[in-house]
Every structure is written in C-alpha cells, then in structure tokens.
C-alpha cells in the first residue's frame, strides 16, 4: 500500500493551489482535520494526497460584542470554546470530544456533528453564518458574511456543512455565538417502560422550559430523561421540571447542579471504538418504537427526544436487523462509528431518494467536476 503524500498548507492560497494541482494531475485528495472521524462514511478510495488543515489554525476574529467569530478550519473546537468562555460566550455546539487537541471546527462542520445542545441551538448549519472554501479548480469563494442576519446570495455554507469534504475544502467559518450561562441545573427522571418514557418525553418537549438540552439515555431496560436548564434561575426552573416529571410518572426524580458528568456520558454515548453507532432520525412521537428496536438488538441509546435524533450503539452484526426494525418509522438510520469489517459490509448512509441523489450528483459535478475531493466516501456514487 502506497502511503499518500501529506500536505498541511498554512494559507488559503497554498491550500487552494494544492487542490488545484492535484486536480490538474488527476489525483485524489483526502481532506483531514484531526482525523477523529476517519471511520465515518464509506471506506472511500486510497487518496493520492492527504490535505491536512493543521496549518489553518488561527482564531481570526472573536467579536464578543456582536456574538460572532471567524475560525480557520483547523482550529480545535475545544480551544475555540475556551476562548469564547473567557468572554462569557460559547459556540452552541457540543459534540463528543476526543483528547486534546480533539476535533477541529472544520471537521465538526463537515460531518455535521453535534451533541445535546442541538436541542436548543441546532447543528453546525444553524450556527455557521458564513464560510470560505477552496474548490478543486483552485477557486477560493466566500459565502454568507460575518453578521448573524444575512440573506444575500446563496447559502453555500449550509451546502458544505455535512458534505464530508466532498465539495471542496472548508478554509474558515464564521459562526454565531450565544451567552454562556454560569449556572445550570439538570432535572432527571427514570422509567423502565418505553411508553412511559415516550409519553414523558413528548410532554417535556412541549413544556416551555427553554431547556438547553432534553435527552434520553436508554440502557439495559431502563430509560433516564434529562432536562438541562441554564441561566440565573436555573435551579428554580429545574425544580419545577422535577415536579412535572413526578406528575408524568417518572421515578427516581432528582435535580443536580453538578451535571457536567451526566452530559459527558450523553456525549460519550454517541461514539464507540468497538461497536457500531447508528444515528437515527425518526418522528419524536415514536420514541417508544425506537427504544424497543434498540432493546431488540441488545443496544444502548442516547438522544435528543424533542427532535427524534438518537444514537444507538449495537454489535455491528445487528445493523441490518436494527434498520429493519426501524423501517416502519420511515426515518433515517446512518452508521457512524463502525469497525472496518462492518463498514465494508453495509452502506453506512442508508437510503437516499433517487431524485434527491440526482440533484446531489449535479451539485457535486459543478463544484468538483474532477472528483478530486474525498471520492467514494459519500452517498450514492459521489
């Protein structure tokens, strides 16, 4: 096996030139941040060149008064968050982190990764207000802007979010920030009956608690619902939520303001080194069926209940069975982490409608006609 040449450009121009040169030579490029999600997507092809974003690591701007920031793609998310926290702010994105330096902002955006804060704040596409990208013909293009509110032009940033580097290289992103509250408190309640958990989750989702996060953890026949409040009155609000949880028939109801560990466990449930993790999108009202399907495959689950977004960890051999059990829900089931053998066996992406895939192919053709960027990784034959 030939090892790919590695290149870590230090400027946008260098990065664009490297891509263009590769494209002109008919070479393929694998774009890499910290490499924390190399095993997501299809195995892809051995690329000729590995383009790393480690040299694009500047926090270009942090406009605290405007609640915006500009980050080069190689900036580790954890580092950016420390910078924002010093000003009492955060980028409302909390995907699972690996040991320092951890995932880069470019990688998080390119894979559309997220964590419990997705409940209130969304995924990367909801937080990125502008981006600068390099295309395989050497074009460097800017879309969006630096202000939170902007509808000028097309939303190329959204197109790139979740595109797994197949449209080009994200050079930098402009993000919107939110206040980081000093005080938080989490209300918890448990049940062993999936229907009780599901009923409670619907009620909590409709409750105007303005939760930062509203999650479920399901393992070994027991479900825990967690509702996180943040703000000056977090403790009081969490107490009210606890009362609601009791009224909804949940057990072992409790409140804690030492909640960092709880949420760290939720994030940890989204990744695995030995099992397969399947990210499921289903109607929130059908959580009970998702929990039963999880049980049927001897799996464990963490998820955002109001959004119907769950991460189910199972033995790789059970992927097909899980997908089968979930198919009546007509949602989506995408395999994220999985051991190499499992990735070779099944399509990690799941079904994409033919008309949508056709548009995606046309988008790919326009942005990367030479199929230089991360070929073979993505949906369909892109």
């Amino acid at each position: 096996m030939v090892t790919a040449t590695r290149h870590a450009p230090a400027t946008f121009e260098e990065a664009a030139a490297a891509l263009a040169a590769a494209s002109a030579e008919g070479q393929t490029v694998r774009i890499v941040g910290s490499g924390t999600k190399r095993n997501w997507g299809r195995p892809g092809i051995e690329a000729d060149l590995e383009l790393r974003t480690s040299g694009l690591d500047r926090i270009v701007e942090h406009n605290a008064g405007d609640l915006t920031a500009t980050l080069e793609a190689g900036v580790p998310l954890a580092l950016a968050q420390r910078t924002f926290a010093a000003a009492g702010q955060m980028l409302a994105l909390d995907p699972p982190l690996t040991p320092e330096p951890g995932p880069t902002i470019g990688g998080v955006v390119a894979t559309a990764d997220s964590g419990p804060l997705r409940h209130r704040y969304g995924t990367p596409r909801d937080l990125v207000v502008g981006a600068t990208v390099a295309l395989s013909d050497g074009t460097v293009a800017r879309a969006g802007g630096k202000v939170i509110k902007n509808v000028a032009g097309y939303d190329i940033a959204k197109l790139f979010a979740g595109s797994f580097g197949t449209l080009g290289l994200l050079l930098s992103v402009n993000v919107r920030l939110h206040p980081l509250h000093e005080t938080s408190a989490t209300a918890l309640g448990a049940a062993t009956d999936p229907d009780r958990i599901a009923g409670a989750s619907v009620a909590l989702s409709a409750f105007p608690g303005e939760f930062e996060a509203l999650d479920v953890a399901w393992r070994d026949g027991r479900g825990d619902l967690l509702a996180r409040c943040a703000g000056p009155q977090a403790a009081r609000r969490a107490q009210r939520t606890v009362k609601l949880m009791r009224d909804l028939g949940l057990q072992e109801v409790d409140v804690t303001d030492e909640d960092a560990q709880l949420w760290e466990r939720q994030r940890a449930g989204q990744r695995s080194t030995d099992q397969a993790v399947v990210r499921v999108a289903a109607a929130p009202g059908r959580l009970a069926e998702v929990l039963r399907a999880t049980d049927g495959c001897a799996g464990t689950l963490v998820g955002r209940v109001a959004l119907g977004s769950s991460y189910i960890s199972i033995e790789p051999a059970a992927i097909g069975e899980l997908r089968g059990a979930l198919s009546p829900l007509r949602g989506h089931a995408q395999v994220l982490d999985a051991p190499p053998a499992a990735r070779a066996d099944s399509d990690p992406w799941g079904d994409v409608s033919a008309p949508a895939l056709e548009v995606m192919r046309r988008v790919k053709e326009r942005f990367d006609p030479s199929a230089t960027c991360n070929p073979g990784l993505f949906v369909g034959d892109i």
Partner: protein, 482 residues
C-alpha cells in the same frame, strides 16, 4: 407576444383549467408588482395551479417550451423577487393554501406554500408557536418566507425560517418533484433551497418545526434622547448575557409617523425608542425585567414603561409594525433598505446615515432590529420635486454601501431579488458569484426559474467544465461508466 406562447397558454389551460389562466392586461394588473411598486412588469400570462401536480405540470410545460417562470406567494416581498418576467409565466401559488397536517407530539406542521405565516402560529396556539414573524405575517405566505429565508423581530433569539424548515417538496425546473428532508443523508439541499429566492425551484409543500410558546412574555418600551444612548443600552443588554425575544429600535422620525398613525402614546420628544420583549420561563422574565430596567436607566433612558396587559403589549407592537405604512404621513414615497451591520458599529453607521441624509437634503427614518443590526432605513422623497426620486435612490445605494463597508450585508431578510442585485458585487467577488452560479446551475441548468433575480448579471450554465477525466472510482475498478 412571443411565438409559440399560444401553444403554451393552451397547455396551461388544459393543466389548470381555463379560468385559472390569466392573459388579459386588466386581469394581470394585480400581479405586475410585489411589495415594491416601483418595479412592475406584465408577464405573458399568470397561472393559478390548484395542486402540486398542476404546479409540476405547469413548470414542465414551461421547460418544454423554453419559457422562464416566476413563482409568487402573497406578493408582499420587498425585493421584487416576484416581479414577473416579461417573456415568462407567473405561477401564482395562492390557491395552495391548505394546512395539511398538524402534529404537536412531533411539533411539526405541514403546509402548502400559500398558507400565511401567522396561520401557522395560530394553528398550534396556545401551546406552541412558529417563531419567524415578519411584520407582514398576517398576509405573507410561507412559500415566500421559504424563498427569502424570512426573519422578523424575534429572529435574534429564535432564528430564521431556515432553522425551522424540516422538509420540503420541491418542483424542480424540469418539472420533476423531489422531497428534501432535514436529517436525510447527503448534501443539505434543504438548507441550500431556503433563501434561494425562487431560483432553484418552487416549494409545493413545506414541513415546519414549531416550538413551545414561551411561558411568560414581558414587553418594555424605553425612550432615549438619541439613537446613540439607545444603542448603548442594547450593548449593555447583550453584554449582560441577556437574550431578549426581540429588541427593536425606532428613531425620532419613525416615532413621529407611527405615533401619528396609532396614537399609542409614544413620546414624540424622544430621539429613539426601544421595544424590548423578554420571553421564556417566568422566573427568568421577572429577574430579567428588573435587570433590563436597571440597564436602560444606566443608559440614560428618559422613560421606561412596562406593558401591564396583553392590550398594552399589543399597542406597543402595533406602533412598531405600523412604522413602514405610517411613513405616508411624512412623505409621499420612500425607498426601504434592509442593510445589516455588526451591532457594535451601530452608532457610527447611524451617524454616517445622518450625515449622508444631510448631504442629500432628504429625510431618512430608521426602524430596525437592534439585536442583530438589521436596519430598515426609509429614505423619504417626493417625486413631484424635481430630481428628488433620483437623489433618494442614490442615497439608498450609499446607505447599502455603508453597511457593507462596516462589515455587514446588503440584505438581512428582504432578499436580493431584482432590487439589490446591483449591490451584489460590493459584497461578493467574482469567485464568490461563481460559486453561487454553480449551485444555481446544478438545480436549474436552463436558467428558467426566476431569471434576472439575485445574480447581478445574467449568466449561462453551460456544460460542466473540464476535459473528460477517469473518475477515481473507475480507476479503482469499483465502478464502470456506461
């Protein structure tokens, strides 16, 4: 009339029924403009389809005839986005106005594009609401909101249309229908479509996320001697980590006009007014309101009033929402702008606008979303005075340029349409416009969907560039090309 159009008219009549195809000038009068009356154009015909299938067949008929088309919702847009093409068809979506489903367990509402924005909130009230709330929400359509990625007063806290669209059924320019979903694998075509101003296709069904209605809403009206101190108050509020549901600012001129129209009791001696609405859990609102009052006082507020009832709150808002309409009391006409600036540059930009207004000897009223820096300068003019309309247009352009120079945007919520396409090069360089065009061509290679909008100059799509290259999957022996 272009040749062959009688065939197209016949086809459209067959698809929608003769009574829903309008050809005569007097029938088309309503459809010549959207909310910007100084742009008007008569299309070859206007057609009012009644179903998704009819929309798709109409678009297909246009595709086969090589005829461009423009989709229109309620026609309330403020960028000329629904301005018809002279050689094209206007597809009016007002008959598609059903709410198809409401599911509060899933917090999801599915609507046809002609449903009004307010109807969505009403459908899920009182437990839930639909946050994007343009001032025209009583009449504007969801389809139009999707096209423009509409915002409204509450978007600083709650986000925009694009954050709430979870699914779309779209008719592409070749008449094919595609379903796009928020969490589906692959590219975020949904995200690319929202805000694309009707140039990538037409949405015939829209699935929206709704959220729990805030438990408590407290509205405050504060008056200041000038916009500078009002701006300082906003800065202090944001710096304190408070995220009000809405922060709106009005300047002296807009207060005058709006107060004359509504008699709500706004202070005419004030240089600026802030409407601040706190919403959320009641504990946070109570404490937050105290803090806000304190911060406004520290910013030298002349007066702070807190709405004590829903009626009072409604009156405070009515004045703000009447601002544009009430400008008629000040001047016979105005140009409305939609520039955005970083909020920290507010004071300096407002000063600059004042300077420019002085230089041009014109009055500019300002009503805007202070939280996110989205200004709505209203450049007043009287076209009966020689040259005044032209000067007003020039001044408008300079205001837009000022916003861009301050690191902002030419449009925060109204869209580029035809009105601001000339300003696109001030914000985007050629490679940026090239990237936009690539997206547009991927969806609409023949350029039939709302041509003449957004991009500053007409561009063709052409073939995909570059010589034939063996696809890497072919080379790796994984795929074959047929």
């Amino acid at each position: 009339m272009p040749t062959g159009s009688s065939d197209l008219i016949a086809a459209l009549s067959e698809i929608c029924g003769r009574e829903f195809v309008l050809e005569h000038r007097h029938e088309l009068a309503t459809y010549r403009s959207d909310g910007l009356l100084h742009y008007s154009q008569t299309p070859v015909a206007a057609v009012l389809p009644g179903t998704t299938e009819q929309v798709a067949r109409v678009v297909r008929a246009c595709y086969d005839a090589g005829v461009p088309w423009v989709a229109r919702g309620a026609g309330t847009g403020l960028s000329g986005g629904a301005l018809p093409a002279a050689d094209g068809i206007l597809i009016v979506l007002s008959r598609l106005r059903r709410i198809i489903s409401i599911d509060l367990d899933d917090a999801r509402v599915v609507v046809q594009p002609g449903v009004t924005n307010l109807a969505v909130s009403r459908a899920v009230s009182p437990t839930h609401f639909y946050p994007p709330d343009p001032s025209s929400q009583i009449v504007c359509s969801i389809g139009g909101n999707v096209a423009e990625n509409s915002g409204g007063a509450h978007c600083f806290k709650y986000g925009f249309t694009t954050n709430y669209v979870v699914g779309l059924e779209v008719v592409l320019s070749d008449g094919s229908i595609v379903s796009l979903e928020r969490d589906a694998p692959g590219y975020d075509l949904l995200g690319a479509f929202v805000g694309s101003e009707g140039t990538l296709g037409v949405a015939t069904e829209i699935a929206l996320r709704v959220i729990p209605a805030p438990e408590s809403v407290r509205t405050m009206l504060a008056f200041f001697a000038d916009t500078g101190s009002a701006g300082d108050a906003v800065t202090a509020i944001v710096d304190a980590g408070i995220m009000p549901g809405a922060i709106e600012m009005m300047d002296k001129l807009s207060i005058e006009a709006a107060e004359a129209a509504t008699g709500a009791g706004y202070r005419r001696d004030a240089g600026a007014a802030l409407i601040i609405e706190l919403d959320g859990p009641r504990e946070e609102c109570i404490v937050g309101l105290e803090r806000l009052t304190q911060l406004c006082g520290e910013a030298a507020a002349l007066d702070v009033r807190i709405a004590q009832s829903e009626a009072e709150r409604e009156l405070m808002w009515r004045t703000r929402k009447a601002a544009f309409a009430s400008m008629g009391r000040i001047a016979p006409a105005y140009y409305v702008q939609d520039g955005v600036i970083p909020r920290t540059r507010l004071a300096e930009v407002l000063r600059r606008i004042d300077e420019l207004a002085g230089e041009y000897d014109l009055r500019v009223a300002n009503v805007f979303h202070a939280g996110d820096g989205n200004l709505h300068p209203l450049v007043c003019y009287d076209s009966s005075r020689e040259g005044e309309a032209e000067r007003a247009e020039e001044l408008s352009g300079l205001i837009v340029k000022t916003c861009v120079d301050a690191g902002g945007s030419i449009t925060g919520e109204h869209g580029v349409g035809v009105d601001k396409k000339a300003y696109m090069p001030s914000m985007f360089a050629e490679p940026d416009l090239d990237a936009f065009q690539r997206l547009r061509c991927a969806f609409d290679p023949r350029g039939l969907a709302n041509p003449g909008k957004v991009m500053p100059t007409p561009r063709l799509c052409g073939e995909v560039p570059g010589p034939y290259r063996q696809h890497p999957l072919e080379r790796a022996g994984v795929a074959e090309r047929f």
